[in-house]
């Protein structure tokens, strides 16, 4: 963007913008969604954009351009229907929608055709003129991983993404890539290499939508925004940590996709390991994206690999059989549509992990994730060490449970601390109580959706909640070793009843005296 007047004596920043940061709104920008006819756009992305507009977090110079193969002559009207259905705020505010719809347009074309990018370029030039989007672009690739490289090549060839400029106020182009980021380490590495041949790392935003969840971010605030927890957050006081990412639903008609993926690639490699890094990381020196991500990568590097025969004693893989979930009878995984009757895809995975560093040496991290479990829950529980001396247990009465800190990520987001208190009356009887903070109670039920935060951060250029290349590859490196080990050693597949908490074989992963929590 050419400066109107150049003067070496001028201020370095716009003094009129001072104090506007409290709104943290996005700069003028066009959001270009590749895969605009897909499910993610309908259910998540456009509703997120609408809610950002309603919260006045997008600039008045904002536009959305959808790109997909199918014709969509009524793109804005169609998106309004989806917003009406999927937005967390209803009904749709007509005034806000009208303004948003003015900046919505659509480009039809195949992603492998040069003409598509030419049309897109013309459309973006029009949008810059009429909406003032100032050549700032966020390209959201809501497409399968195999289409990502060709889209990025097409954008680069058409001059729609350029090397980033250091000049203040220069236009930016960023590319948001959805998971899965590869399907193993070699493919993730190849994808990174391909993207980095066209873009700078600073232009690539790899999404893991769990990082956009308020409660996941609250994990960092809890740890590093308070003085009382960090002194307890280590092997000195923590006996073991349990991480659970459980779903009560099955594959929901996506059997064909799931057969090639399994829970380990679908959930554990990304969401569950992200939670692990946030729980286990050292305090960053600053909230700068690289400072935070450096600490997360260090966790992955200190994670002791599980490979070879170790997979047989440190991991359990399972698959749901038929059962009852929330009062309804459900079929076994192998009876789901598009699932092979002899499928060996795992729908459950549990493991015990060790972190070889000063903070966590000797503390087991138990992780489990599965489909068709008893309830939908994602939580982290720090189980503290038992008392060194039981002052109040001489008569054998009272609870023997050590303290625990539960961070509930979903649903019913919040934090609870379990501790013992004296039961009123004679004697000293101890009962466990929970001191409970629920997000919904303190801050209302309508917290921003994860995609709202992530899209906004991509527009603002804040990469803290996005995954870096080395982080993704470290995650895949850890998971690949496990999957290879399963293959080499013919790891058994344990069937569990749908509606239970997984195969009983997972109990053997725990140290003596430890038990899987029943959330």
């Amino acid at each position: 963007m050419k400066r109107a007047v150049d003067s070496s004596d001028g201020p370095e920043s716009n003094p009129l913008r001072e104090g506007m940061n409290e709104d943290r709104s996005a700069p003028p920008c066009a959001l270009i969604i590749f895969g605009a006819s897909g499910d993610l756009t309908r259910r998540k992305l456009v509703p997120a954009v609408y809610n950002l507009s309603q919260s006045r977090l997008v600039s008045s110079s904002f536009a959305v351009v959808g790109v997909a193969r199918r014709p969509k002559p009524e793109f804005a009207a169609e998106m309004k229907e989806h917003v009406s259905r999927y937005s967390r705020r209803k009904p749709v505010d007509e005034a806000i929608w009208r303004d948003l719809a003015k900046g919505m347009s659509y480009v039809q074309g195949s992603f492998d055709e040069e003409a598509t990018y030419e049309k897109l370029r013309e459309e973006l030039a029009r949008v810059d003129r009429e909406r003032g989007t100032a050549q700032n672009r966020v390209f959201y690739l809501a497409v399968g991983p195999d289409q990502v490289p060709e889209i990025v090549r097409g954008l680069r060839s058409a001059g729609l993404v350029l090397p980033p400029s250091e000049e203040p106020g220069a236009p930016f182009q960023r590319v948001v890539v959805e998971k899965p980021f590869g399907e193993d380490l070699p493919s993730a590495h190849a994808l990174n290499r391909e993207l980095l041949s066209q873009l700078a790392e600073s232009q690539i935003y790899r999404i893991d939508h769990y990082l956009g969840k308020e409660t996941v971010q609250n994990l960092l605030v809890l740890r590093f925004g308070n003085t009382i927890f960090e002194p307890l957050w280590s092997r000195r006081h923590v006996d073991h940590v349990q991480i659970t990412v459980a779903e009560d639903i099955g594959v929901e008609g996506r059997g064909k996709f799931y057969e090639g993926v399994g829970i380990t690639r679908d959930i554990v490699q990304n969401h569950a390991l992200q939670i692990l890094t946030l729980v286990a990381m050292e305090p960053p020196a600053s909230w700068d994206a690289d400072a935070v991500r450096d600490e997360k990568v260090k966790v992955m590097r200190s994670l002791r690999p599980i490979r070879g025969e170790d997979v047989l004693t440190q991991t359990v893989r399972g698959q749901y059989g038929s059962g009852m979930v929330r009062g309804d009878r459900v079929p076994a995984y192998r009876e789901e549509p598009d699932v092979a009757p002899e499928s060996t895809t795992e729908t459950y995975m549990a493991m015990t992990m060790q972190l070889d560093n000063w903070r966590w040496g000797g503390v087991p991290f138990y992780m489990r994730s599965g489909k068709r479990l008893a309830k939908r829950i994602a939580e982290v529980v720090l189980h503290f060490k038992p008392l060194p001396h039981r002052l109040f247990r001489e008569d054998g009465e009272g609870s023997a449970e050590p303290n625990s800190l539960v961070i509930r990520i979903q649903p019913d987001e919040g934090i609870s601390m379990r501790f013992g208190t004296k039961v009123p009356g004679g004697g000293v009887a101890i009962r466990d109580v929970a001191m409970d903070f629920r997000y919904g109670a303190a801050f209302g039920s309508s917290s921003p959706e994860a995609y709202e935060r992530l899209i906004l951060d991509a527009m603002r250029g804040e990469a803290t909640l996005f995954t870096r290349a080395d982080e993704v590859e470290a995650q895949w490196g850890f998971i690949d070793a496990i999957i290879d080990g399963w293959r080499e050693h013919d790891a058994p597949l344990s069937v569990y009843t749908a509606g239970s908490w997984g195969p009983i074989e997972s109990n053997a992963l725990l140290d003596e005296g430890d038990e899987w929590r029943r959330p």
Partner: protein, 363 residues
């Protein structure tokens, strides 16, 4: 603008302990609210508390304020005090009404409640209001004091001295009055009208985004408004002056400001009536800067009662855009005022400069 609570009639001194008895009664009623389980679920009520919010207003504003604070409690739950003056109440008395506002928290879980205490004040109790509020406020939580329309002067003045945060509204309270309040407290002051006009300020700011030097070379500002009400131009001028370092002191002619480099800034205020727009609404801003022999100008204007403004820039760059000013419900504006940080210093400086400007214009 202040409620007409007469302080010219001498009244007998307050009998010892009278307000304490009122406080005791309030505390008993609060205890009863929290002791009773929820009528629908039979479960104990859950309290959510993030702040104490004390809003001072005229009695006529209560209905509207109840609605705003109920909505606000969904995201900023806490104890709400609605404090008003009423000439019908005996001078040394406080009348009270206590209620619990509950909302379901989904499923079979207990509802989440917060309480509201309404305090109608007689003419002489203003100096004691901070003590009453202090005794009833939830511990360890900030006290946010809002000065709403018709707020009795003495009650506002007393409360802001104990506030952790003050919220004002220059759409109905003169900026000179707000400046007095701001000087009497060390708490941050956030003005609701300052927040409502953020879009105007952002549109002004973008004129200079790629012409930073022009911020030191503004020679003319024209601001248009609808007639009546409090003058919205004062706050905008105060903001421009405080950000750009203009001198608005008494040494400068009315209708002018002086830039840092000593050059003049002509300030023209225009009134226009636009059908369906209320009094005291901003209609437009235009600015001109002279830099290295070139003239740069910006104009941001609305032509009708719609929220569309036409923004144009002339000079080495020509740009024309339309923007929507947008609208927010009041609860959200108040929520932003409560949460606001980083912009507090800017708002305070703008208010003080606006007050200086307004005094010089003899308004």
């Amino acid at each position: 603008m202040e409620a007409a609570v007469s302080d010219s009639i001498p009244a007998p001194p307050l009998p010892a302990g009278q307000l304490s008895e009122t406080l005791n009664a309030i505390e008993r009623e609060l205890g009863a609210i929290w002791a009773e389980p929820d009528g629908d679920t039979g479960l104990p009520k859950v309290r959510a508390s993030t702040l104490n919010l004390a809003v001072v207003s005229g009695a006529s504003q209560l209905d509207g304020l109840r609605e705003v604070t109920d909505t606000l409690s969904e995201t900023h739950a806490g104890r709400v005090f609605l404090i008003y003056g009423d000439g019908h109440i005996p001078p040394w008395s406080i009348q009270h009404e206590v209620s619990g506002v509950c909302r379901p928290s989904g499923g079979q879980a207990a509802p989440v409640c917060n309480d509201r205490i309404e305090l109608g004040c007689g003419a002489m109790v203003a100096p004691r209001v901070p003590s009453v509020v202090g005794a009833l406020a939830l511990p360890e939580l900030p006290l946010v004091v809002g000065v709403a329309r018709g707020a009795p002067r003495k009650i506002s003045e007393a409360l802001v001295t104990v506030a952790d945060r003050v919220i004002t509204d220059s759409s109905h309270t003169a900026v000179t009055r707000i400046a007095e309040l701001a000087r009497s407290t060390s708490a941050p002051v956030c003005d609701l009208e300052f927040l409502r006009t953020r879009a105007w300020r952002e549109l002004c700011a973008r004129f200079f985004d790629d012409a930073l030097s022009a911020t030191q070379a503004v020679s003319r500002v024209q601001i248009a408004r609808t007639p009546g009400g409090e003058d919205p131009a004062a706050l905008l001028i105060g903001w421009l002056a405080s950000r750009l370092g203009w001198d608005l002191s008494g040494a400068v002619e009315p209708g002018r400001a002086v830039r840092r480099d000593g050059g003049p800034v002509e300030v023209e205020l225009v009134e226009e009536t636009v059908p369906n727009l209320p009094p005291g609404e901003l209609l437009g801003v235009s600015m001109k800067a002279e830099l290295s022999g070139e003239t740069l100008s910006m104009r941001c204007w609305r032509n009708d009662a719609s929220s569309i403004v036409h923004w144009s820039r002339r000079g080495p760059r020509h740009d024309d855009h339309e923007h929507t000013l947008g609208s927010r419900d009041e609860a959200r504006i108040v929520a932003k005022a409560i949460d606001g940080s980083g912009g507090d210093a800017v708002c305070r400086e703008a208010l003080l400069a606006a007050a200086l400007w307004q005094r010089r214009q003899g308004q």
